[in-house]
Symmetry: C2
Amino acid sequence: MLRSCTAGLRSLWALRGRPEGAPRLSTDLQPARRLFSTEKVIHKDWALPNPSWSKDFKLLFDQFMKKCEDGSWERLPSYKHRSTQESEDSKTNFFDPKLVEEERLSQVQLFTRSFEDGLGFEYVIFKNNDEKRTVCLFQGGPYLQGIPGLLHGGAMATMIDIALGSCTGEAIMTANLNINFKRPVPLCSVVVINSQLDKLEGRKLFLSCNVRSVDEKTLYSEATGLFIKLNPEKRST
Amino acid sequence: MLRSCTAGLRSLWALRGRPEGAPRLSTDLQPARRLFSTEKVIHKDWALPNPSWSKDFKLLFDQFMKKCEDGSWERLPSYKHRSTQESEDSKTNFFDPKLVEEERLSQVQLFTRSFEDGLGFEYVIFKNNDEKRTVCLFQGGPYLQGIPGLLHGGAMATMIDIALGSCTGEAIMTANLNINFKRPVPLCSVVVINSQLDKLEGRKLFLSCNVRSVDEKTLYSEATGLFIKLNPEKRST
């Protein structure tokens, strides 16, 4: 963790300049030694079981993997770094292509994959392409705490944003998130986020989801999202 | 970072049981050696400048500290761990008091203070008690990335949740967050979140905020929040 943190800060400072007064980074943590120095680590798929996953989590994972066998469902892989296509899309759409390009090259990582196994966001998303819906299995670790013993609302909002966005295979931006938090989620419990595409209007995607306990008896949250396609003419639904 | 991660996982496993198949933690990382073993570290105030803060950030911080001199504004301190009062409130209100108590004792930390200096959420909140409003200065680090070069919407939602909640001095829970993301926030830039209490109806607090660039020219987001007081009879506004 220390190494990857240092690499992140190093690449940021390379881009923005080292803040005045900031200590120089230790010389024994050269870029060549950093955590993401090999293709193998960069392309690791994080949406697979690790020892921090609870029994419930692994059981549900296995059930959905079974559903994938006939091709009706697929497991979406998850990487610390976004795809080249996404980088291209964001370069096309935003105001600072140089920044985007340099950030991509410096391998600054995705927010939800910034934690060590089990401490932060543990999740996997399964997609049903015909039904335009996804199921996200999520276990929020001890570093995502809000009120003592409970998941932070911001961590839940983050997963909802990702789960909703996973219903499309497109480059999109969140324009609106509207979340009703109905019950607090106990830290380290597993929740199931069911998301679906409700409507498509030009570049606008209207999505909704609910967050429930594994036994489906507890409704934790409901949310809607409006997402905007970044490059509607370049890629089709 | 490694030590605190391990301590977090250790205290979690003590509570929930070590997941089947999870490796035992190294014996050279005993609780006595963990990062939060001293009162001094536990009570460190994180809402103060560190070397990762940009020039803009420090300049704005100094301006608001000046405003604090006549007592009209106050800087809110920020700790990795919630106050005893908050723990008591959450014990009273939620379904698993044992969990809450044990989590508090095990010093599992607050989501937004889980990162090393400069990598995650850098923020400070100033409050104007007479006007029931706060100003949050926020610099999102390289570990909060969404689309390459840009802050993750979930990280923005997290800070909005915290900024809105800071307008009251009470124990509250988020019931609704409605966020309009108008423009993406460049990674590592500083933004200013202006929040205010719009209405109070019994236990319901209606709040709103906007997120702008330091020069106020760019409006990044607007949001409303509905929060619920946890113990209205125990504590007054």
